[in-house]
Amino acid sequence: MPHTKLRRLVTISVAVTLGATALAACGSSDDNDSEADSGPVSLTYWSWTPGMDKVADLWNKGQGKKDRITVTVKKQASGDTLVTKILTAHKAKKAPDLVQAEYQALPTLVSNDALADIAGDVDGVKDKFADGVWQQTTLGSDAVYAIPQDSGPMMFYYRQDLFKKYGLEVPGTWDQFAETARALKKKSPETDLTTFSANDSGLFAGLAQQAGAKWWTTEGQKWKVGIDDAATQKVADFWGGLVKEGAIDNQPMYTPAWNKALNTGKQIAWVSAVWAPGTLTTAAPDTKGKWAMAPLPQWSQGESVTGSWGGSSTAVTTDSKHKSAAAKFAAWLNTDPAALTALAKEGGIYPAATTAQTSDAFTEPPAFFSNQKDFYTQAADIAKTTAPSAWGPNVNVAYTTFNDAFGSAAKNKSDFGAALKTMQGETVADLKKQGFEVAE
């Protein structure tokens, strides 16, 4: 994306100065947790979801009025910069009561002691979510650091009309996927099945997750980094091979050129997630009704596993004076049918709560996929097969290294395995630098 550079610059500069001022901030700490939930409570909530203020209004006029809990939404820009902003505010003990956070940001926030454990306030909420999704909010412990909001189960999108034209079949396995890419190259050398984008670390992470990779795990008190594990190597070699032989394109996604390639049928498929219809609407407006969705290709025949790309949760901060009230709102927001319907309509999110995935808001397919009537039924089935993911406290570092190392590897069509080693090395080095113990 064009603004990645700005984002990275901001993140880096904030990170640098955060370190420099950590000492200055240490002075103030009289934090007495007065749980004054009896009187009227007002909470602030940092979120980037469009229309979240309208959903909060539902609460303020309904359940919230009864419980005398008012929530004010302050709209933020999403991304790593928000994590940095939350941590800065937390240093001054000024973080809002509730924050929206992407799953991969949770370990960073938790290791900085910014998120409260709300396990005691959210009994029975766990059952509303798929295990693979819920486990991301507990970080493998008994604590609960957030309530899942939306999820991004990955799927395979393809141009139905062009697949027919070129006589291609929807690939069920990655081997077939490679064959399809090669077959297409033979029939139409100008056309690519898809591209490997070295700008989208989240996509690669999701693909590795599908293959069974566990990038961050804990061993006692130590972190173990498995970015260069067998599963990820398999994924890297697969895509690296396709790029090297020229079977697929190597240009980044989300650029005007990529939009054009999708719009004109120069690229005829996209490995993406459930939110893809929204992106396609703006990227390829002329292709409405020509796409179809299928499950992600599998590593071996008969399996059904998918990864996830994107998705976020609602967390309560340690700075909140009203943690129980905040947890109550977070649970309502992400499990109440009315709230979830409003979230889907106002914010366009795909809910993490399993019952909501087949609710009234999702009976009709997205407008861009009007030809695929069972889009959301199929999506809900795929969502159930999401593999568990394992995030660590420095996902941002791993992602930045991914962009750099895989960026040049994809451009030069060189060895992706070497790029993966760089990613592993830098991530481990950064963990150690931050003072974490790392198991080799």
Binding site: V10, V16, A77, A92, K93, N263, G310
Partner: protein, 301 residues
């Protein structure tokens, strides 16, 4: 390299005056700088042209039609932008005008006072103060944003208009410029003459020195205005309520809507274009004050 210079120089030495080598030679000398400047101009203006043209394209035209082919959606884009969350964009524009206008004005006033004092009065520690300010000039404001945030948090001022305005008031660069300018434009004799006539120090400053310093202060004001208008990190750290956001931050939230919501490219592009217009207008209006520079230098000798 040197052989080239020699070869170029030899016809200029003019052993054959009849062939009139002059004009073509002058043209040849001007060729390289002209091309360089042209390339520079294209480099600077092409992105601007892109923004202007892209802002006329509707969402479906943006990425599908030829890059420099004007689209048909400019009016719609402006309407959509104004309609976005009940005209929040214009609120951001107003906020930017407030931060940049008031912030630059206050900082110019402070710079004028301190620059004048540092230039005219002799007192102990003057150079020390000035050197500290110089160090402040070298310090990128980005580094200061977080310490400033932590200070504001102690004073319970975060997420307020004051939290963005206060750190802007003292601008080391402004003070530095004002001092240099005051030293050059306000002659010591004039100040001395004012004292002889019994004017108070404040009166000398406001009635005699200040008018002489105007061109310099206009420069300070413009610099500050542009710096604040384009500032990102300070308001980003300080503010959480998007009703108080300046335009830079507002456009950033339009881009970063989360992975499941497409970025509002057309709105951002149109918004960016409209956000530049006040800056251009300001420069056109204030530019003429700069020409005073020459006149005011002629007070003495």
């Amino acid at each position: 390299m040197s052989s080239l210079a020699v070869r170029k120089a030899s016809p200029a030495a003019g052993t054959t005056p009849g062939t009139a080598q002059g004009p073509p030679l002058r043209r040849r000398i001007a060729f390289v700088p002209t091309v360089t400047l042209l390339i520079g101009a294209i480099y600077c203006l092409l992105p601007v042209a892109w923004v202007v043209i892209a802002s006329t394209k509707s969402g479906s035209e943006l990425f599908s039609t030829f890059t420099f082919l004007p689209g048909t959606g400019f009016a719609d884009n402006v309407t959509d932008l104004s309609a976005y969350r009940d005209g929040l964009y214009w609120k951001w524009m107003g906020n930017s005008a407030l931060y940049a206008g008031l912030g630059a004005l206050l900082s110019t006033v402070v710079s004028a006072f301190s620059g004048y004092a540092l230039a005219i009065y002799r007192f102990r520690g003057r150079e020390t103060i000035f050197n500290i300010l110089m160090a402040g000039v070298l310090m990128p404001p980005v580094i200061l944003a977080i310490p400033q945030y932590l200070l504001m948090a102690k004073a319970d001022l975060t997420d307020s208009y004051a939290s963005v305005l206060l750190p802007l008031i003292l601008s080391p660069y402004g003070v530095y410029l004002a001092r240099i300018y005051a030293a050059a434009a306000v002659p010591g004799d004039v100040v001395e003459a004012g004292r002889m006539d019994g004017a108070s120090e404040l009166r000398i400053f406001t009635r005699i020195a200040l008018p002489m310093m105007v061109p310099g202060l206009v420069t300070v004001f413009l610099f500050q205005f542009v710096a604040v208008w384009n500032n990102f990190l300070l308001p980003y750290i300080m503010l959480s309520d998007d009703e108080k956001f300046p335009i830079t931050l507002g456009l950033f939230t339009l881009l970063e809507q989360g992975s499941n919501t497409p970025a509002l490219y057309t709105l951002v592009i149109t918004g960016a274009l409209l956000a530049v217009i006040p800056l251009i207008a300001l420069f056109l209006v204030i530019q003429r004050f700069w020409s005073l520079d020459l006149l005011s230098g002629a007070v003495k000798s």
